[in-house]
C-alpha cells in the first residue's frame, strides 16, 4: 500500500517530470543511428548511475567506502568464471551478486564499529588485497593477463550487441534508482538516515545500529556486484585492473558532485561526467592546435579537471548539486 501511495505522490513532484523526460529521451536515443563510440559511452554512463547509486546507498547509512571496486571485481570475476564453465550468464551474474554480498557482509562486519575514516582505509585496503589475491591465484583468474568474458547474449555484430545492451543497462540503472527510492522511503531507509545523522541518538531511540549498518553494506555490495557482473559482460575482458583505485573513486566523485546521500545525486553526477567528457572530446581538435605536446597532456588535464571540480564542490557546496537543483525546480513551480 505504501508503494502505491508513493506512486500517487510522485505525480506532484516536479522532479518526476524531469526524470520522465530524461527516461523518454534515453529510450529513444539508440534509434538515431548514433556512433558505436557514443553508444559505448552512454552504456558506461548508465553503468555509473547504477554503480554510484549502490555506493551512495552505503553513504546514505553514513559509511563511506573507498574500495567499492572490490565488490565490482568480485561480481565480475564470479560471473566470468561461472559463465566460462557453464555458459549460463544470467545465473552467473546472480551468483556474482550473491558472492559479492556475502563478502560485503564480512567486510561490513569488520567495519561496523569503526569510525568513518578507518572504514575508508579498510575498504581501500581490501581492494588492494584483492589485486594481490587475483594476481597470486593466476591458475583461476588468469593473473595479470586476465580473462575473456563470454557475451551475455548472442548477436550478429558489435552494434547490435551494444543496441540491446543499452536497454539492459538502462533498465538496470532505472531499476536501481527506483529500488533505492523505495528503500530510502521505507523504515529501513529511515534507520539508515538516523544512523548517518547521529549514531548515538539513533542508538538511543532503539535502532540496532550494527544490524542496519550491516544491512546497508550487504545491499550495497550485492548491487555493486550485480553492476560489476553486467559491466564484465559488456566490456568482454577483465583483469586485476578492475580493482584499481580509480574504479573505487569514480562513484565517490560522481556521488559527491551530484549530491552525497541523495537519490538523484548519482544520476546527476553520471550525466555531468558524460557531458563534461563529451564536451572535452568535442573541443579536443581545437586543443590539439595549441601544441604537439597536448596529445599526451590532454587526457591528464581531463582527470585533473575532475579532481579540481571535486575540491571546489566540497568546499563551496558540500551537499553537491542536487539540493541546489531541487531548490531551483521548486521555486519554478
Amino acid at each position: 500500500m505504501k508503494i502505491i501511495n508513493d506512486l500517487c505522490l510522485i505525480w506532484r513532484n516536479p522532479k518526476f517530470y524531469l526524470l520522465f523526460l530524461l527516461l523518454v529521451i534515453s529510450l529513444l536515443i539508440p534509434f538515431f543511428q548514433i556512433s558505436i563510440y557514443l553508444m559505448h559511452v552512454l552504456i558506461l554512463t548508465f553503468f555509473f548511475i547504477g554503480y554510484s547509486s549502490s555506493w551512495n546507498l552505503l553513504a546514505y547509512s553514513g559509511q563511506v567506502s573507498f574500495g567499492h571496486a572490490a565488490f565490482l571485481g568480485i561480481g565480475a570475476y564470479v560471473t566470468t568464471l561461472f559463465t566460462i564453465q557453464t555458459s549460463l550468464p544470467f545465473i552467473g551474474i546472480l551468483m556474482g551478486a550473491i558472492v559479492s554480498a556475502f563478502v560485503g557482509f564480512f567486510i561490513g562486519l569488520t567495519c561496523v564499529r569503526l569510525r568513518e575514516w578507518f572504514l575508508a582505509l579498510v575498504t581501500f585496503g581490501f581492494s588492494i588485497i584483492m589485486i594481490a589475491l587475483t594476481i597470486e591465484l593466476d591458475w583461476l583468474t588468469g593473473g595479470t593477463l586476465g580473462l575473456t568474458v563470454p557475451k551475455l547474449f548472442p548477436s550478429i555484430n558489435q552494434y547490435q550487441y551494444y543496441f540491446y545492451y543499452y536497454y539492459v543497462m538502462l533498465t538496470l540503472a532505472v531499476f536501481l534508482v527506483l529500488l533505492f527510492h523505495f528503500i530510502t522511503r521505507s523504515k529501513v531507509g529511515l534507520a539508515f538516515a538516523a544512523i548517518r545523522e547521529n549514531e548515538s541518538e539513533a542508538k538511543a531511540t532503539g535502532i540496532d545500529v550494527v544490524k542496519y549498518r550491516l544491512l546497508a553494506f550487504t545491499i550495497s555490495a550485492f548491487f555493486t556486484g550485480l553492476m560489476g557482473a553486467f559491466y564484465a559482460h559488456f566490456i568482454g575482458y577483465i583483469n586485476h585492473q578492475i580493482y584499481s583505485p580509480e574504479n573505487s573513486f569514480w562513484p565517490i566523485i560522481i556521488s559527491v558532485i551530484g549530491g552525497l546521500a541523495t537519490l538523484e545525486g548519482p544520476v546527476i553526477g553520471s550525466l555531468l561526467r558524460f557531458l563534461i567528457y563529451e564536451f572535452l572530446r568535442i573541443i579536443e581538435p581545437w586543443v590539439r592546435t595549441i601544441g604537439p605536446g597536448m596529445v599526451t597532456i590532454y587526457p591528464k588535464m581531463q582527470v585533473l579537471l575532475f579532481g579540481a571540480i571535486l575540491v571546489v564542490v566540497i568546499i563551496l557546496m558540500p551537499k553537491g548539486i542536487a539540493p541546489w537543483l531541487r531548490k531551483f525546480l521548486m521555486s519554478g513551480r
Binding site: E116, F118, L121, G125, A132, G307, I314, I315, P318
Partner: protein
C-alpha cells in the same frame, strides 16, 4: 613459497632483508611522522599526503638537474618549497572544511590526489625518475654486511631530521604551542596561541617531512607521479597501529613496518607488497576497533 621461505632463512639474505627494510622503513618513518603531526594537531585526515612526498622528490630532481646541486642538499630546499605549497593547500582547501564532517576532509583529499598526481604527470611525464647520487657506486662493507654509501646516508639523514623534528616539538616554544593545540584547541586559543598559525605551520612541517621522504625515495629507488597514493594510506595504517597522534609510535611503527614489508616481499613475492600492510590493519582493527593503542596527544 616454501622455497622462498627457506631462502629467506639463510643468513646473508636475512641481512639483505633487514637492510632493505631499514631503508624502506626510513621513508615510512618520515611519511608517517608528518602525517601523524598533521593528524595529531589538526585532526585532519589527509589521504593526499603521499602526493606531497612525490612532489618533494620531483622538486629535488629538478633542483639537482637544473642547478647540479648535490641531491642531499636539495632535500632542504625541496622541504621549503613543498612546505610552502602545503601551507597554501591548507589555507585554500583544508582550512575551509575544518570542523565540518570528516567525510568532507576525506573527499577533499581524494580530489587533491587527482589534482596533484595529474599536475605532476603533466610537468614531469609518467616515466620513472631517479635522482643520480654522486655516491652511486660506493659500497661500504662491515665484515659480511655490505651496503651502498647512499643507503647509509639515507639512514643518517632520516635520523638527523627526526632528531631535529623531536627537538622542535619538545624543546621550542612553537612545539609547545603545537602540543597545546593538539591537546585542546579551545584552551590553546584562550591561552593566546594563534591556532590558525599553528595549523599552517603544522601542515607545512608535515608536508616538508613528506618531501624529505620523497627525495630519499627518488634517490634509493625511483618515483612516478602515481607512486604516492598507496604509501600515504600505508602510512595511515602505521599511525593507526602505532597509536594515533603518538610520535614515537609513528617512528617505531614506520621502521617495524619497513622490516615487515621487506620480509613479506622476500617470502611472499612482490605482488603482496601493498597488500601486507592492509591485511595487518584489518586483523588489528578486528581485534581493537579503535586502533592498537588508541588515541594519544603529541
Amino acid at each position: 613459497m616454501v622455497i622462498r621461505l627457506a631462502l629467506a632463512i639463510s643468513f646473508p639474505i636475512l641481512i639483505q632483508i633487514v637492510i632493505w627494510g631499514l631503508i624502506v622503513g626510513c621513508i615510512y618513518v618520515l611519511l608517517a611522522s608528518g602525517l601523524n603531526l598533521i593528524f595529531g594537531v589538526m585532526k585532519v585526515v589527509n589521504f593526499a599526503h603521499g602526493e606531497f612526498m612525490i612532489l618533494g622528490g620531483y622538486v629535488s630532481y629538478w633542483l639537482s638537474i637544473l642547478t647540479g646541486l648535490n641531491p642531499y642538499f636539495s632535500i632542504f630546499l625541496s622541504m621549503v618549497v613543498v612546505g610552502v605549497i602545503g601551507v597554501i593547500t591548507e589555507r585554500v582547501c583544508f582550512h575551509q572544511v575544518l570542523g565540518t564532517s570528516k567525510l568532507n576532509e576525506l573527499i577533499l583529499s581524494l580530489g587533491l590526489i587527482y589534482v596533484l598526481q595529474n599536475a605532476m604527470s603533466i610537468l614531469w611525464t609518467d616515466y620513472p625518475v631517479l635522482i643520480d647520487s654522486p655516491f652511486k657506486n660506493m659500497i661500504i662493507s662491515f665484515g659480511i654486511v655490505s651496503m651502498g654509501l647512499d643507503w647509509l646516508i639515507v639512514i643518517g639523514i632520516t635520523v638527523l631530521i627526526m632528531v631535529g623534528f623531536y627537538i622542535l616539538i619538545r624543546r621550542t616554544k612553537i612545539g609547545r604551542a603545537m602540543r597545546a593545540a593538539s591537546q585542546n584547541r579551545v584552551a590553546a586559543m584562550l591561552m593566546g596561541i594563534n591556532v590558525e598559525h599553528i595549523n599552517m605551520l603544522t601542515f607545512g612541517l608535515g608536508t616538508a617531512l613528506a618531501a624529505t621522504a620523497g627525495t630519499l625515495l627518488a634517490i634509493t629507488t625511483s618515483i612516478t607521479p602515481y607512486a604516492g597514493e598507496i604509501p600515504a594510506l600505508k602510512a595511515f595504517t602505521i599511525i593507526i597501529l602505532g597509536g594515533l597522534g603518538s610520535p614515537v609510535g609513528a617512528a617505531v611503527g614506520g621502521l617495524v613496518y619497513g622490516l615487515v614489508e621487506s620480509g613479506a616481499v622476500t617470502v611472499l613475492g612482490g605482488t603482496w607488497r601493498d597488500a601486507v600492510g592492509f591485511i595487518i590493519l584489518i586483523l588489528a582493527l578486528i581485534i581493537r576497533p579503535t586502533g592498537l593503542f588508541g588515541e594519544k596527544e603529541i
